[in-house]
């Protein structure tokens, strides 16, 4: 899974693969394909003891060579893997015996282990299978890949030799139905057993009716409003703070998502050790924002801003419309441009050609992944061109800080700085939801602790 699409059927496809390590409910790194792992005292050597007898879908047994192959493949940016930077500090990967892998770093990379538990980087695939992964993914997960029609269907079947016991379901077919009404109708008429993402305004109604099961979890992802730091007005922290003050996050959450989530001033996973709970969002203060903008040299009527929002997330379009009203009150003229996902990616993500936009990210619970990629000047996800020496220094420092408590404090400082400078406008964590027929069992196991993967291993269907 080193190359991943963004379509939601991709989350079902994740059942094909297993990672070397994973996380438990409290986000501690725990064994998966590795039976155990240990870190040397100097923090430079990681030794993984592999689980014996793990079978891949092609029948071969997992050995240290497969792990070495998978890591090296991911480390090579040519394969298109963005996680390659996880392996930046890796000096060597040794395989002293078929069930032992030793990874040696040339400098401390504190988040290394937990990054392997994040999506992607720690996935183990059979040696030499890299070229076929794109078309026919093959791994050691509970389900094997059968077929996929992009944008429509993915079909998986049970892998009987799964190391952790075969799954209950014989087959999983995931169909992409972008229209919420059609999706919900399909569930209600029994055409579908389960749907992902119940339309936010219907959750209450469906829970009350009691005919269907509803699984909700928090958080699925988080949203923020982006300001392009190369756009002149946004180079002034006062303007950014003023923009933050214009937005009433509670009302916006209610308006765009019918309250299905919780506002936050920090994107850190709320139960993680590094979450800075002291931060409170700026309350809406249109007058204050006007004054601040005036002070920065932008009197009412002088700012005309294009807000690019992608139709891929309809609630972003709703949010944008609400923002337009508030910004008008603050004397800022906001114009919405709706973009398809392809256009958003090309214009905002890659070309960084935007003034203001909005995006959401899966809960990147691993703080290095979150703060380094998104906010470091050279971060892979820094499409807003944020460049703050203090944040750069802090995120670098965290990487070489081994003590977890100390690291957590550094990340709290990062959050404080992000809030003070209002580099982006943090909005909320959004709830995840699944609707299912009464016949579906094992729903309590379906959501991976990271809040984004859907795990079908222990889901069943009553006759």
């Amino acid at each position: 899974m080193h190359q991943t699409g963004t379509a939601s059927t991709g989350r079902v496809l994740q059942n094909v693969h297993n990672s070397i390590v994973t996380v438990d409910q409290d986000l501690n790194v725990i064994p998966m394909l590795a039976e155990s792992f240990e870190q040397s005292d100097d923090g430079l050597t990681y030794t993984f003891r592999l689980r014996p007898g793990v079978k891949f879908h092609n029948g071969s047994e997992m050995t240290s060579a497969d792990v070495k192959y998978s890591f090296e493949r991911c480390a090579n940016p040519d394969t298109g893997a963005v996680n390659f930077e996880v392996f930046n500090a890796v000096e060597s990967i040794d395989t002293p015996d078929p069930l032992t892998v030793v990874v040696t770093l040339n400098q401390i990379n504190a988040p290394f282990l937990s990054r392997l538990a994040e999506n992607g980087a720690g996935v183990i695939m059979p040696e030499g299978s890299g070229d076929v992964q794109g078309e026919t993914p093959i791994g050691a997960g509970p389900f094997r890949f059968v077929r996929r029609e992009f944008g429509n269907e993915v079909e998986l079947e049970r892998f009987d030799d799964y190391w952790d016991g075969p799954a209950y379901l014989e087959r999983v077919i995931a169909r992409e139905i972008p229209e919420p009404t059609v999706r919900l109708t399909g569930l209600r008429t029994g055409e579908l057993h389960m749907i992902n993402d119940i339309p936010a305004d219907r959750i209450g109604e469906i829970e009350d009716a009691g005919e269907l099961q509803v699984v909700k979890w928090f958080p699925l992802n988080w949203d923020f409003v982006n300001l392009n730091h190369t756009f002149e007005p946004f180079q002034d922290a006062r303007v950014r703070r003023a923009f933050d003050m214009i937005i009433d996050k509670e009302v916006l959450l209610e308006g765009a998502l019918w309250g299905q989530g919780a506002v936050t001033a920090s994107p850190s996973y709320p139960t993680s050790a590094s979450f800075n709970a002291d931060l409170v969002q700026r309350p809406q203060d249109i007058e204050g924002a006007r004054a601040l903008l005036e002070e920065a040299g932008y009197p009412p009527g002088s700012l005309d801003i294009v807000f690019k929002a992608t139709t891929n997330y309809p609630y972003h379009i709703e949010s944008a419309q609400i923002l337009v009203e508030w910004f008008r009150m603050a004397g800022v003229n906001l114009t919405i441009e709706q973009l398809t996902w392809a256009d958003w990616l090309s214009q905002c993500w890659v070309d960084r050609d935007f003034q203001m936009t909005m995006m959401n990210f899966f809960t990147l619970w691993e703080p290095d992944f979150l703060y380094y990629s998104l906010f470091n000047t050279v971060g892979a996800f820094n499409y807003r061109s944020v460049s703050d020496p203090e944040i750069d220094a802090l995120t670098e420092e965290a990487r070489i800080t081994v003590d977890p408590a100390e690291r957590a404090e550094i990340y709290k400082a990062v959050q404080q700085r992000l809030f003070d400078e209002a580099h982006d406008i943090m909005l909320w964590f959004r709830n995840g939801s699944i609707g299912a027929q009464p016949s579906v069992g094992g729903l309590d196991t379906i959501v991976h602790p990271n809040g984004s993967n859907l795990n079908f291993h222990k889901v069943w269907l009553n006759a």
């Binding site: 190359q3 991943t4 699409g5 963004t6 940016p77 040519d78 394969t79 298109g80 893997a81 963005v82 794109g134 078309e135 029609e149 992009f150 944008g151 429509n152 169909r175 992409e176 139905i177 972008p178 229209e179 009404t181 059609v182 109708t185 399909g186 209600r188 008429t189 055409e191 398809t340 996902w341 392809a342 256009d343 990616l345 090309s346 214009q347 993500w349 890659v350 892979a380 996800f381």
Partner: protein, 313 residues
């Protein structure tokens, strides 16, 4: 014969022009497929590598030549996002859309012919305006609006038909018809107006003709005169108009198939367009345009067979 040769030559020329226009337009689309494949994991180096390996860096004329050469030799290339060979992909989707096109046309004609005949018999009376107005209602609302209404009524409230998906007719004929029914009905409602109008005016013309008067004079029942003598002669022109509506239909299926998740040509083309899958856009748009043009040609040729006067001009 000369007429037919002439037509065939002009068809080839038009196909060529279609290919040039399709190719030109798809190449000025913003965004690119490398980005879609990599999504939020895009980074400049990986993108550059992917673009190179996808052949996106070659000069346009080379890309065009490669595409046309492939089209002619049956190698339509690979879809970049579906990661499948394009020719079989399109062949499969054409079947899906074919089911919808035939069904929506059938539904439209089943309504339009009786309505049009009824209007013609009662020309300029209340029945006439009732018939043409009710047919117009169908075309007065966007087809996706009908689509959503039909889902709520027939799938949600009544539970008679599935709300989404496609079933291949070779696997399960009844299932295929059930899945295609709602999208076909949504499209059929839009087609009805024009066909009703055509049926009405054709029937009015025919009912004034000599042989109808003779039939009436012979004492045949009015019902038989209209439905058997009259309609038999009106069918040709009405079917001709129906054939010409195929172009309109292929536009509408983009929206309707997407709404119903019915994976036919309209859905495929929209997906290709959304994902900037240039090779797939090129081939699917080309196929749609070619199908529309060939249908029109077929209609023209049928007309020559039906109406010998064309041959003289």
């Amino acid at each position: 014969m000369a007429y037919i040769i002439n037509r065939v030559l002009s068809v080839l020329l038009t196909l060529f022009l279609i290919s040039v226009i399709t190719f030109a337009v798809t190449n000025i689309l913003p965004g690119d497929v490398a980005m879609m494949i990599m999504g939020t994991q895009s980074n400049p180096e990986a993108l550059a590598g992917l673009r190179e390996s996808l052949g996106l860096n070659d000069p346009l004329i080379v890309q065009y030549g490669r595409w046309i050469g492939g089209l002619l030799t049956g190698d339509w290339g690979h879809s970049l996002v579906f990661r499948e060979p394009i020719a079989p992909l399109i062949a499969q989707k054409v079947v899906a859309s074919g089911v919808i096109v035939v069904m929506s046309m059938t539904i439209a004609l089943l309504f339009a012919i009786p309505l049009g005949v009824w209007a013609a018999i009662h020309r300029d009376r209340w029945q006439d305006s009732t018939a043409s107005t009710s047919a117009l209602v169908g075309v007065s609302l966007p087809d996706f609006f009908w689509g959503i209404m039909l889902i709520l009524l027939f799938a949600r409230a009544l539970g008679w038909f599935p709300s989404s998906g496609f079933v291949h007719p070779a696997d399960d004929l009844l299932g295929a018809i059930r899945h295609a029914f709602l999208p076909s009905l949504a499209l059929g409602l839009g087609l009805m107006a024009h066909l009703t109008r055509m049926t009405r005016s054709t029937m009015i013309g025919i009912l004034q003709q000599e042989f109808i008067r003779v039939a009436r004079a012979k004492g045949l029942a009015e019902r038989e005169v209209v439905w058997s003598y009259g309609l038999r002669n009106a069918i040709g022109p009405v079917l001709t108009v129906a054939g010409l509506q195929v172009g309109y239909l292929f536009g509408s299926i983009i929206v309707v198939e997407s709404l119903f998740n019915y994976t036919g040509m309209g859905w495929l083309t929209y997906q290709a367009l959304l994902n900037r899958d240039i090779p797939l856009i090129q081939s699917s748009v080309f196929v749609i345009a070619a199908v529309v043009m060939l249908t029109n040609l077929l209609v023209d040729l049928l007309y020559v067979v039906i109406d010998p006067r064309i041959r003289l001009s």
